[in-house]
């Protein structure tokens, strides 16, 4: 294969367990975002817009939705002969038992052959978890200018937040001398964004060496510290633009809601750095005679006969007459019945909500089973779910599966309760 200056390896195998039911049967990078996109579209589009046209996508947790989305790379024009996209799942090798990807660096270690076959000078390591636009070619230029072995993209966070991140301690030239994972008393506010450029032969050697010591080889825990120990050249690359981790129900909801402002901080409507996605369904959206849509994003194929305020609708969503949707995210192919009222809810794809349902009402009581996930008043409905007519559903509720009226006592689901039916989901 033709030699490439830089290729990317995108870690897309994580579950993102704090997204609760949204990632029950799909990996976090496959979660819908901003109407028609999935989270992985952001790093993938950044790659092609930066001229990085060979991308290995490492999958492990629930890859079906992700694989269907990636295909042969058509959404990003990466269906090319030279390079393009490869989905890399854990695999068996001759003579030894196969193993899962046990750490971020271990996943790359297991695919050294793939990288060697592409013969790059530099390897860009990305994760499929964040919403941002970034020119990786500018970062590569910086990497070369500073003669780095590793360049790590960092974000300046507030000192209070710093103890939640991996923190880079660097000198006045941004040369890194120390890395601390979630330090109790941070010495700097340069938080790692999980985006690295490595000079490939240096990374290759480090991966092989570290695999002998750690079976769960990880970039932050093992590779970066060991490179620092060997006095290699590591620089922090400051990123000053919009970057959002959408790792929790609340942050996911808030990041979607930021998009509907008249002038959003993160603007999808500028065309010089386009975000690409799979565009298989293309009919226009229809706004009916009695519809009322304000401060919302509405995607292709939607049919709105009711009211939609402060909400994000993915593709092919139907909102029937008299229905009111407020402060909510509704993913593709959902159907909201007549006179149903939905407030501050996230409804995953292919779900049907009956008529005369009131959802997201009452006291803000954290979810009984998973209070650490559902505690900000947002009710979440899983994918392929059916919610029958005439129900009252509270806040911080979780509903999944083909639910029937008898699953709800007195046609009610109090705040903080869940109905999860694993059998016979549609």
């Amino acid at each position: 294969m033709r030699k490439k200056e830089m290729m990317a390896m995108l870690l897309a195998g994580g579950q993102g367990s704090r997204l609760g039911i949204l990632t029950m049967d799909k990996a976090k990078p496959a979660v819908a975002f901003g109407g028609k996109y999935r989270i992985i579209d952001f790093p993938m589009s950044n790659c092609v817009n930066s001229g990085v046209e060979t991308v290995g996508i490492l999958t492990q947790y629930q890859p079906l939705t992700l694989n269907q989305h990636i295909g042969i790379g058509v959404p990003w024009d990466l269906d090319t002969r030279n390079g393009g996209v490869a989905t890399l799942a854990p695999h068996m090798r001759e003579g030894e038992v196969g193993e899962w990807y046990s750490g971020t660096a271990n996943a790359i270690y297991q695919n050294i052959d793939y990288i060697d076959a592409n013969n790059p000078e530099y390897v860009l390591i990305l994760s499929g978890d964040h919403i941002y636009k970034m020119d990786y070619s500018a970062m590569l230029k910086y990497h070369k200018e500073h003669n780095c072995d590793v360049t790590i993209a960092v974000l300046e966070v507030s000192m209070e937040e710093a103890s939640r991140f991996g923190i880079m301690n660097a000198d006045e030239n941004d040369k890194i001398y120390e890395f601390e994972e979630k330090p109790e008393h941070p010495k700097s506010n340069l938080a790692s964004m999980g985006i690295y450029i490595f000079t490939w032969d240096k990374l290759r050697a480090a991966l092989i060496e570290d695999n002998k010591i750690h079976s769960d080889s990880d970039f932050g825990k093992h590779i970066i510290p060991s490179m620092l120990e060997k006095s290699m050249t590591l620089y922090a690359y400051r990123f000053k633009d919009y970057w959002k981790d959408v790792g929790t129900i609340e942050s996911y909801w808030a990041a979607n809601m930021e998009l509907i402002k008249t002038l959003p901080e993160f603007n999808l409507y500028e065309y010089f750095w386009k975000i690409y996605t799979k565009s298989d369904l293309q009919p226009p959206m229809y706004s009916g005679i009695n519809s009322d849509i304000k401060t919302s994003i509405v995607s292709e194929g939607c049919q709105v006969e009711g009211t939609v305020h402060h909400s994000v609708l993915s593709k092919n969503v139907t909102i029937e007459e008299g229905a009111i949707v407020k402060d909510s995210i509704i993913m593709e192919n959902c159907h909201i019945g007549k006179n149903t009222i939905i407030e501050r809810c996230i409804i995953d794809q292919n779900t049907v909500i009956g008529s005369n349902v009131k959802m997201g009402i009452g006291e803000n009581v954290p979810n009984e089973e998973k209070p650490h996930i559902y505690n900000t008043g947002i009710t979440v409905i899983g994918n392929n779910t059916i919610v029958p007519d005439n129900l009252e559903i509270g806040k911080n509720c979780v509903i999944y599966g083909n639910t029937k009226p008898e699953n709800y006592e007195n046609n009610k689901l109090e705040s903080g309760k869940s109905v999860i039916i694993m059998e016979g989901a549609i």
Partner: protein, 370 residues
Amino acid sequence: MKAIGIILAGGNSERLKSLCKARAIAAMPVAAGYRAIDFALSNMSNSSIKKVAVITQYNSRSLQDHLSSAKWWDLDRKEGGLYIFTPFLSSDNNFWFRGIADSIYQNISFLKRSHEPYVVIASGEAIYKMDYQKVLEYHVEKNADITIVTKNVLDTTKDPHDFGVITMDENMRMVSFEEKPIESTSNDISLGIYVISRPLLIKLLENAIPKGYYDFVKDIILRNKQHLNIFAYKFDGYWNTLNSVEAYMETNMDFLKPEVLSILKTEPYITTKPSDDPSAKFNSTANVKNTIVGTGTIIDGNVSNSVLFRKVTISEGATVNNSIIMKSSYIGKNCVIENAIIDKEAVISDGKQVIGTPEEPVVISKGFVV
């Protein structure tokens, strides 16, 4: 049944005025995000026709652009796929296409080098969803030489005088075919969709063209009417064609009706080249009723009974009613747009009014600034 397809996309119409100045009719934008030819192309691919030629002449660049990657219709094949034929010069030919029959004859090697037994010929200028396999099956069942797809236009706005009018006997065998008759004897019009066996088409063309017969209807169908079995196949689904400004307006407005919009929303899908614009955005002062909206469009104003294509901007206080706003056009603050067709990339400055009548919509040309 195996067939190859030919889509006729050469046309241009004076009745479309400035809308057709820079584009072929087949490249006309329809239904907020498609082009006319998407319908014929999708029908071909949805009918398992894997080798399709598009014959184009007038303003072919507008089409080439759209068809440059055939993958959106699954026509990026090793075997077969999409062929685009424009007139060309060679040692024994230096003519523009002199008629539909001539345009096929000048590309006769496409027919000769295929092995599929049948040919489906369709117009790229009509808006409809049709399973050509059903027409093929009918063609074989009737033991026909040529099958012509027809539609009864009695209950539509279409005037038979503008079309080819067909009469048939009780077995659906064609009795007469009159082009744009002054007095029509029937409400069944030809939709310009034909099924014919490939060897027969080659034979008929080779007989006609050297004698100077270049027209398909007059010279291929009518001249052979007596000794060929020509049958009509009645189509009763939605069909419209873009042969005038009024028809263009009507076709687009038809997509506000659920039964017509469902053509786009049900399988098999009509597909087009995607543009990956973000979703449509409705801001706090938007008020939109009975309207279809394409992707990337941002609305602050009032819109009713209209078709908004991609990347359109409707500013605050603007009122748009019963109008078509094409791609990337900008409607300024407090504008009033009524009964108008605003072609793409036009700018209507703040406070301006563009008002036509339902019978005679105003057309603002591509890129024009009001």
